[in-house]
Symmetry: C2
Subunit: 234 residues, 2 copies
């Protein structure tokens, strides 16, 4: 923190807020991990539990938001304190979306049910691991107020994009070879997209952390390679 | 506003903030409309202009956010004023996402290029019109502080979901009938999904408006029918 707090209670309130955001992050991380296991093992009961866990994430977000409104009204924070509170609001919003995306993958697993084959299994596993690591790193960056770690996460998103593009092409090939794969392939394309979007939310969090710690914004765009191999802006 | 303002300047600052959010909404609405035209007429130059317009939306969001930080620090608002400022932050965040999704559809149009056929044209047109109306209504609700209009938008999202599910099945059928349609079909599935997500962001805005005006939250979940016809939670 840049300036000392005259109100000790406020410091502990801010710490509690960060703590709640990190707890939400831990839940989102567990959801990604369980989602990957549910996919790898075709464990639809686990998929159902991930869907249930999302409500906990939503409720935690609602609680964090109420606390933020209370702190803004009661403590009327300025400078770094204000930035940290707005950061908590934004990070919790991205974490809620990450939970939602993991839930959506699990809903697709349940819809696919018996159609779930081994196609794409390796890719989903690799991508899930990569996005979970991104989330873990960006939560570390948030917790330790480390802007360099935030920049690393931001740059690493390119790897997630590469995973996504390669999975997109792989699934498309299967669909072209066997029309019976088309319905399942469509689900797999959306699962890949959801994982890629989890990566994007980690990047958002990295930008928020960087701004909150340094006061400097990361540039708006980052070069990105599209599904079809052409360069576009992120 | 619930209570009178002692600081006249603050009232005009709040009005200017709402005005900026509405301007951002107007830009997002124009992006949806142009995106639909670009798709219907295969106008890739227009698609390119939509991609360019997204930067304006992003910059407006950044400006709104800076103004919000300044107002929070300087005016230290409470009660309804605080709620209106946080509402502006959240609404502008959803509008930024809507701009981004319209941009992404246009990027797909450009990638599809000469492959762009008439398949799905009617569905994309209907869906684009429906989500643009949702956005228009929810911006009206925000501008006139009308909670009932917000509830209507929230309930109408079901129609968007139905559009999406019917387009999903339509595109899948084409893909099954003709393997040469698979790559384009995959793009169309994502375009449909992006339009459905624009609808979801309108629903988010409706929830924010409802809370900001009434202080009451809408329930967390709404029944939703899945692509495969089964009922699930939104």
């Amino acid at each position: 923190m840049v300036q000392g707090h005259t109100v000790k209670a406020f410091t502990s309130e801010l710490n509690a807020l960060t703590h709640d955001v990190l707890r939400m992050g831990g839940l989102a991380e567990a959801m990604i991990s369980d989602m990957a296991t549910a996919f790898a093992e075709g464990d639809l009961e686990l998929a159902q539990r991930v869907i249930g866990a999302d409500r906990e994430v939503d409720e935690l977000e609602a609680r964090i938001e109420r606390e933020i409104m209370r702190l803004l009204a009661l403590r009327q924070p300025v400078a770094q304190d204000l930035r940290s509170i707005i950061a908590a609001l934004k990070v919790s919003n991205d974490l809620e979306r990450i939970g939602d995306l993991s839930k959506n993958v699990c809903k697709r697993l349940i819809e696919m049910g018996d159609d779930l084959t081994s196609v794409g299994k390796g890719s989903v596993e690799r991508m899930s691991r990569a996005v979970r690591l991104q989330l873990k790193s960006v939560l570390d960056a948030y917790s330790t107020e480390n802007p360099q770690e935030a920049i690393d996460v931001w740059l690493n998103d390119e790897e997630i994009d590469e995973h996504y593009n390669s999975m997109f092409r792989e699934v498309l090939t299967y669909m072209m070879e066997d029309p019976r794969m088309i319905s399942m392939g469509a689900h797999l394309l959306f699962i890949a997209k959801n994982l890629e979007r989890i990566g994007d939310h980690c990047t958002n969090i990295a930008e928020v952390v960087h701004f909150y710690v340094t006061g400097d914004e990361l540039p708006l765009t980052r070069p990105k390679v599209s599904e079809m191999g052409r360069t576009k802006e992120a």
